[in-house]
Assembly symmetry: C2
Homo-oligomer: 273 residues x 2
């Protein structure tokens, strides 16, 4: 018995669900992934995707996921129900609901699809960055638990420099991977699309009340691309387009170290400032 | 009686719904907004948002909308049901379902929110474009009906040049407004976020089978901003980040003529090529 095969990663524990039948799953919050209020939103998104992946009715691979953070998730158990509302030849549409004591905390929709070799082109370009090995991992203050599960090597816009005062740009770029290292899959890619501090805090250089209200991930990587990436760091970049009237957008890209766009993340963040 | 006050715009007819009570509405496809297969997807998105706006339980203004095109919509009547799954102090989360003969054709989630004056910043920049008055409106071949409801003045990447052969860039930029002109609101803004030809067709310079599977709109404009815009043309721009393995993304921005970002549109498009 190799210790590698028996090692269970905390991310796998945290995204683990118990099937109760009829598209219903039970899960439990993991204190290792706690954020300011409730769990890290990226983990919640991964858990909702996990429920569809564990449902044997799913076809193909995830191509899109939208998660709506409707209310807080309290420490303890939760229930997820998934519904394959429509299955076509090439795409399958799911609705997903996470509840606690019959109160809806999170809703989601997911599109799965059959991946085929087609004409391809990447118009976006990865951000400029030195190799991950040339950037020191950030050491975070003991602020929120979930950060301990990520190795982050900031190239630009470090969350560590939150108290550095106002900045003209909301762009952050970093090399990121699970800590300890874990081979990339659609679940961890989903979580990584949400590793960024709310952009309004980076711009203002201080803590303000803020939280994601909705997150959408478009997956460009299929399982072959993810397998080829393995556990090497992912180059992640995010910026806001517009912040104002109580809400900010955020656009993120996740790249392999050889210039393949793995996924894009889109979110709208509520803030008070 | 002024003819202006009695004039009903075709867009208002097409997005008109009859409330049946308990969050259920009935609508009907409008032949004036027909696309290649079924209705123009931007109109469908607007109709789903309309259902929430017509439900007297809605609070605040639309801040986010995600629409999943699960299956075709046949000519004729359809039913929409809306559910305010969670109402918080500042945000309200809705799920929306469009069905025909009890078969789900489209699902959506919407977030409504209270708009407040906050710190604000626009980091994105509008695309370079001459004033709308300096650009000739495009004359479309009689391809699909819905195009007749829009005045489009292409600055870059005209859909008219579809047969011009392959292009290196998927960017299109145009001035767009309803034809005849109609004051902008959240409904028409939603529809306008989807006026772009699938980017894969623009890149390849030919028709290929393609269709939006999921669309997300983030609204930055509140009703005051929309009222100030009136019926002046909107500066719209879109591009793909990555096209391949059967799917393409698309990122769009809608700007006022004085540089205010009204909304961003995000979509994933299925294609065969």
């Amino acid at each position: 018995m190799s210790p590698i095969t028996t090692f269970s990663h905390r991310f796998d524990d945290a995204t683990g669900l118990t099937p109760l039948g009829d598209g219903v799953f039970e899960g439990r919050t993991d204190p290792a992934y706690t954020n300011m209020v409730g769990p890290f939103g990226g983990l919640t998104a991964a858990i909702l995707l996990q429920a569809v992946l564990l449902d044997e009715r799913h076809l193909g691979e995830p191509v899109s996921l939208t998660v709506n953070y409707a209310g807080p998730i309290a420490d303890g158990p939760f229930t997820i129900s998934v519904d394959p509302v429509r299955t076509n030849r090439n795409t399958q549409h799911w609705t997903v609901t996470l509840s606690q004591n019959d109160v809806v905390a999170t809703t989601a929709t997911a599109v799965f699809g059959t991946r085929r070799a087609t004409w391809a082109s990447t118009e976006s370009a990865p951000p400029e960055a030195p190799p991950a090995s040339a950037v020191e991992p950030a050491e975070f203050p003991e602020l929120v638990a979930w950060l301990d599960n990520y190795e982050m090597r900031f190239v630009e816009g470090s969350s560590l420099e939150l108290d550095a005062g106002p900045r003209p740009s909301s762009t952050s770029t970093l090399w990121v991977r699970d800590k300890p290292a874990r081979p990339l899959d659609h679940l961890s890619l989903t979580a990584m699309s949400d590793v960024f501090l709310p952009r309004v805090m980076l711009r203002l250089g201080k803590f303000v009340p803020a939280g994601t209200v909705t997150l959408t991930v478009y997956f460009h990587a299929d399982t072959d691309v993810l397998a080829a990436q393995g556990d090497r760091p992912v180059l992640a970049t995010a910026r806001a387009g517009r912040l104002g009237r109580g809400f900010s957008d955020q656009y993120a890209e996740l790249w392999t170290d050889d210039g393949e766009l793995l996924a894009t993340g889109h979110q709208l963040v509520y803030f008070k400032a």
